[in-house]
Symmetry: C2
């Protein structure tokens, strides 16, 4: 088996840490050059947060940056980014997004692509398995916020 991209590995480590805390196992890292400049994970359960998805948590950890900073960054995330996180990617004009998987939930990938963002999906088994464990244990939590059927929608939410 090919060695996993170390940046995706770091995002998955955040997702694992989230699951260990009882949270939704979705993690993200922001990479600039060959350095991780921010890491984050979904905090919905841990902090009762409606906006701290993994991607948003990483952006917030990174703090206030100039516009030029984001334009040389890549965002890694274990799950296809929802419309809010995709909007943040567009706002800050992050040019490249690497996604662990999009089978459990298909976010606004088409919107990102339509605006020129480079989107790569790695279809990583562990990204799926971490979420499957969470959803199996807590289906009502997975479904509470946006009311999707368990296992995700068949059509893109908030996409093109």
């Amino acid at each position: 088996m090919a060695k996993r991209d170390p940046f995706l590995e770091a995002a998955i480590a955040e997702a694992r840490a989230g699951l260990e805390e009882g949270g939704i196992p979705i993690g993200s890292v922001i990479v600039r050059g060959d350095q991780i400049v921010a890491q984050g994970r979904n905090r919905r359960i841990q902090w009762g947060s409606a906006i701290r998805h993994g991607e948003m948590d990483a952006l917030e950890t990174l703090g206030r940056q100039p516009a030029s900073f984001y334009r040389s960054c890549t965002l890694y995330t274990t799950l296809s980014p929802c419309p809010m996180c995709s909007g943040a990617i567009l706002l800050y004009r992050i040019p490249r997004v690497v996604i662990g998987e999009n089978r459990t939930f298909l976010g606004a990938e088409a919107l990102l692509r339509s605006r020129g963002v480079s989107v790569e999906v790695r279809d990583d088994a562990e990204c799926r398995e971490l979420l499957a464990r969470f959803i199996g244990r807590f289906p009502s939590i997975w479904n509470e916020d946006i009311g999707l059927p368990q296992g995700g929608p068949s059509a893109e939410v908030g996409g093109s």
Copy 2:
């Protein structure tokens, strides 16, 4: 002069409070039925936050809610919502957005409308004036995050 909508008035009160703190004067409230259920304002300067725009701050103040909750809400915001905040509106399927003004910055209104969100723009003079005062004093802060020309773009950012 017609009396201002009390919910827009409450959003403007948040923007004024932000300006008094030295922050970017953009405020939001979330209304359900005839009650304000959350208020928020831009915290970029005050908290060094990249994600706490007025709309996001109100959503975070509201905390973790079931999907059905948002579908009977209206979001009031003093400035046209950026792609991130518009994405949050789409994520939570908030059906109606009332906007103070969209001359200083035109957000993703076309995207919202294309997904069936009701969008009303009130073109409120005080919403514009509060931002003009901030931008006049701190043009480099206004421009730092997304690198737009002062006074806003002529074309919609992250829109259709």
